[in-house]
């Protein structure tokens, strides 16, 4: 850890580049790089992460490490799949049905630069509007990405061609580019501050 702290790689471990290298301790990394707890705690912290990023993102990619106790991590993934992701996906994709509790100025506010802060008033108004005068927006369309797995499985036998590296970036006809889907984001519960609770330890 000491060696890492004195290498350029330490930047990857810092939430802020102005953070002194000496503050990047093992405990700090565990507190900030790992989201751990019960399904409810993990869900809350993932929501806080979404909040800190300014809104929903496309894919949640988790690292899998089972170097010590595989059973612990296998159970973790089962709980993640069964108890956390369904609620997180519902929260991010169908926020209109979720309860709203966020108020501007509450302790759960994001950092000042967070784009979600500017949406707080709109979010709260959305919770008060009547369904007759202000019908809820339609659910976002189910946008599916190409199934790249099929491309890999057939080892090039498919008519779909995987572009060579020299073909990137692929030039797309603007007429075929779908407009970006705006997902309204409305947290269901008071959010924790963006900084993890143990970050000051």
């Amino acid at each position: 850890m000491t060696e890492t702290r004195h290498s350029p790689r330490v930047l990857a471990l810092k939430p802020d580049t102005s953070m002194p290298d000496e503050d990047v301790t093992l405990q700090f990394c565990l507190d900030n790089m790992v989201i751990s707890g019960s399904p409810r705690t993990v869900l809350d912290r993932l929501v806080a992460l979404v909040d800190a990023l300014g809104g929903p993102f496309g894919t949640l990619l988790l690292g899998y490490k089972e170097w010590d106790l595989p059973a612990v991590h296998q159970k973790s993934w089962r709980l993640m799949a069964d108890n956390v992701m369904p609620q997180l996906a519902q929260l991010l994709r169908f926020p209109e049905g979720a309860g709203l509790s966020r108020q501007p100025g509450e302790a759960g506010q994001c950092r000042p630069h967070c784009a979600l802060n500017g949406q707080s008033a709109q979010v709260n108004r959305a919770s008060d509007r009547s369904s007759a005068a202000h019908p809820p927006p339609a659910a976002p369309p189910d946008v599916r990405l190409p199934d790249h797995r099929s491309i890999r499985r057939d080892h090039g036998q498919s008519n779909r061609r995987v572009p060579a590296s020299r073909d990137w970036p692929v030039r797309r006809d603007p007429a075929h580019v779908q407009p970006a889907v705006q997902h309204p984001y409305e947290p269901t519960r008071p959010l924790e501050p963006c900084s993890p609770p143990n970050s000051t330890a």
Binding site: M33, I35, S38, W67
Partner: protein, 36 residues
């Protein structure tokens, strides 16, 4: 990168169970930063 690196999640039956695992000196998440 915003807010630092977070790629690891551990879900347990309870917060206490997760805390017990995280307190292990040889847990997998300890190994990760040590290998950076």
């Amino acid at each position: 990168m915003i807010g630092g690196w977070r790629d690891s999640v551990l879900v347990a039956d309870s917060d206490a169970e997760a805390a017990d695992y995280m307190a292990r000196e040889d847990n997998s998440f300890v190994v990760l930063p040590l290998h950076l």
